[in-house]
């Protein structure tokens, strides 16, 4: 059946040791920050020896409301404000220091500094070598 075929295709690409039980214990730390803070936060993470991050340009708002601007005599509101989203996956024991360092670097004490979210990560794999778990980070 098709499902069997798909399973077999998956088998040819997946190394065997993915079937083993691995102790993962990683968290994804998602930071929504001001765009101008990107560089300093990257350097902060660098100093913490966090290797690897994903950066996306996003827009949104929290409690920071939009701005009112004018165009050809009329008013309009910019609701969504440009921000940068940084996703880093770190081992559990590093989560606290990452949150602390990032928040310290990103804080300007003005409205719009951003937020940090922590989510669970079930597993991770380095594609080139096939390593899984925290050694994939």
């Amino acid at each position: 059946m098709i499902i069997d075929e798909i399973g077999r295709i998956g088998e040819t690409y997946t190394p065997e040791y993915l079937n083993r039980e691995e102790i993962t214990q990683m968290k994804m730390v998602t930071c929504i920050i001001r765009p101008e803070k990107l560089e300093s936060i990257t350097n902060t993470l660098d100093k913490l020896h966090i290797v690897g991050m994903t950066v996306t340009d996003v827009r949104g708002f929290g409690r920071q409301k939009g701005q009112v601007e004018h165009y050809r005599g009329g008013e309009y509101t910019i609701r969504f404000i440009p921000k940068v989203r940084i996703d880093v996956v770190v081992p559990d024991e590093d989560v606290k220091k990452v949150i602390e360092a990032v928040s310290r670097t990103a804080r300007t004490e003005n409205v719009g500094d951003g937020k940090i979210f922590v989510t669970n990560v079930e597993n991770a794999m380095r594609i080139r070598t096939g390593e899984v778990g925290t050694s994939a980070l």
Binding site: R34, E36, E39, D46, E69
Partner: protein, 558 residues
């Protein structure tokens, strides 16, 4: 037909009269002068009825003796009419040429706007475009109020444009036994005697040159210049600083009279303005950039520069071509005519212009390719523009080989200069305005003193000294001295004036935007609207060391 008979009779009459006149000249040793009587027998090749009946697709009958303006229809066509028409035709050709070239130079404004906007980041595009846009209106008005008068108030006579006799007021001081003409005194608001057809043409042409100077400054100060400060600074440049040097060089001022007063060649020679326009603009750009300071993120704490890429190279390259096209109005138009006084050299001037731009783009391209491994688009653009800047002063005086060499040097010079300003004095110049216009403007001024070949002839003299402009390589070292005095004036007086003026503007208005505004992008804080509201703008990430980011952080906290 009756008309055919008439035609035949008239043709025979003309032939008869011509034959008689021919015999008359052969018979007498001295010919008799033509009289008005002789003109009455000239008639047009076809009558108006005939042309109305069949049209004139082959231009056989259009444009003839009927079109000569007759001042007194009772007297008919006179020799005076013929002479006046000839003179007026020459002035008309010159007016048309100068005006069309002036329009082309105005078209260089969008060229500059595109080059600058392409080289800065998208978050500042609205602000940069608006600076380049308003520089036209601000400069024009400042020039109309007093700039033109200060620069050209005493420039009469200008043969190519019909004399410009009303512009006969110049303030002269006596010093060391010589007259030093300092500034003009006629032409304010183009009012009174300046309401004159020739003066209008000169005003338009000179105004677009002034505007080129003011738009150069917006390049070096982009991405951190307060819009209000830009407005005030531009008005000062267009009203006083540019017109002063313009008077000294082109308005029969003391720099142009160095030949007459001190025997230094033909005085300071600057055909289309490497010094007057580009060096003044480039040095003012330098002064402003020094006062305003570099962009946040440009230099690290250890002084090493970071690259801040522009947001659209298409605009840069397009803008460069628009500038190159407009330069065909800049240089050839500076003859102020196409008829008389050597103005037929316009073709030679245009070719010199093309060649210098071409060789300069080559040398810049090769330099970047060999040194850094890849041909660099923005530096090649800077190279081509540097060549055009450098040929601007010598364009009317050199031959094509000289033009090619001048351009070749200019291309290398601009690359070296951009590196120099980034690494040694650490002056941030987003578009290379200081290197392209300032440094190569000075090179162009010096190049006149070297490469002017003495083969041009603009009415037998230049700046009141008989003969043709010659440089060092063609036997006149005095010319080089005059050019160097011009350079010294630019660097010593004009740069100082610009620095003091902009320092004053900084004191009163404040030149630089706040760090918060600069980091957010000037479009919203200064102009209230994004240039690209439909696009998600990327957050910047420069390859800078952590030491300089602490400055950015502390600045953004304010």
């Amino acid at each position: 037909m009756k008309s055919l008979k008439m035609k035949t009779f008239l043709i025979l009459a003309i032939l008869g009269v011509s034959a008689l006149m021919g015999f008359a000249t052969l018979a007498k040793a001295e010919g008799t002068a033509l009289t008005d009587q002789d003109l009455t027998s000239i008639s047009a090749p076809a009558s108006t009825d005939e042309i109305a009946a069949k049209g004139d697709p082959g231009a056989d009958f259009t444009g003839n003796v009927r079109d000569v303006t007759v001042s007194d229809s009772k007297k008919g066509l006179t020799l005076a009419d013929l002479a006046n028409q000839a003179g007026q035709n020459k002035i008309a050709i010159n007016f048309v040429w100068t005006l069309i070239c002036g329009f082309m130079v105005m078209f260089m404004q969008p060229g500059f706007a595109l080059v600058e906007t392409g080289l800065i980041r998208a978050k500042n595009a609205n602000h940069t475009m608006m600076m380049n846009f308003m520089v036209y209106s601000l400069g024009l008005f400042a020039y109309y109020v007093c700039g033109f008068a200060i620069q050209m108030g005493g420039v009469a006579p200008v043969a190519n444009l019909g004399g410009l006799y009303p512009l006969n007021g110049e303030h002269v001081v006596n010093f060391l036994g010589k007259p030093w003409a300092l500034f003009g005194t006629k032409g304010f608001f183009l009012h009174g005697t300046s309401y004159d057809v020739g003066v209008m043409v000169m005003f338009l042409f000179q105004m677009v040159f002034m505007d080129t100077t003011t738009t150069i400054v917006t390049g070096s100060c982009a991405e951190r210049w307060k819009y209000s400060a830009f407005c005030v600074s531009t008005i000062g440049l267009g009203a006083i600083i540019y017109p002063l040097f313009g008077n000294w060089a082109w308005g029969c001022g003391w720099l142009s009279q160095l030949g007459v007063n001190f025997g230094l060649g033909h005085g300071y020679c600057d055909f289309a303005g490497s010094g007057v326009v580009h060096a003044v603009g480039g040095l003012t750009a330098l002064a402003c950039a020094m006062i305003i300071g570099p962009r946040i993120g440009k230099f690290n704490r250890d002084g090493s520069p970071n690259a801040i890429p522009g947001h659209d190279l298409v605009l840069v390259l397009l803008g460069c071509f628009i500038l190159a096209f407009g330069w065909f109005g800049f240089n050839p138009g500076s003859t102020l005519g196409a008829s008389g006084n050597g103005a037929l050299r316009i073709g030679s001037i245009a070719v010199n212009t093309m060649l210098a731009g071409c060789t300069a783009s080559f040398s810049a391209l090769l330099y970047m390719w060999i040194r850094y491994g890849k041909p660099d688009a923005s530096m090649t653009v800077n190279g081509l523009l540097a060549g055009l800047v450098a040929i601007t002063a010598p364009s009317g005086f050199v031959n094509p080989i000289g033009a090619s060499v001048i351009g070749w040097v200019a291309g290398f010079l601009v690359c070296l200069s951009v590196e120099f300003f980034d690494r040694v004095p650490k002056i941030d110049d987003p578009v290379g305005a200081i290197s392209v216009h300032g440094i190569n403007g000075i090179w162009g001024v010096i190049a006149v003193g070297l490469f002017a070949d003495g083969r041009s002839n603009y009415g037998g003299s230049w700046n009141g000294v008989n003969g043709s402009v010659k440089g060092l390589f063609y036997g006149d070292p005095g010319q080089l001295v005059a050019q160097l005095i011009g350079v010294a004036t630019l660097v010593g007086i004009i740069f100082t004036m610009s620095f003091l003026w902009n320092w004053l503007v900084d004191l009163i208005v404040g030149q630089r935007t706040s760090a918060k505004a600069e980091l957010a992008g000037l479009d919203i804080p200064e102009m209230g609207a994004l240039c690209y509201p439909d696009f998600q703008l990327k957050a910047q990430d420069y390859a800078g060391s952590s030491s300089q980011t602490s400055k950015a952080e502390s600045l953004s906290k304010s």
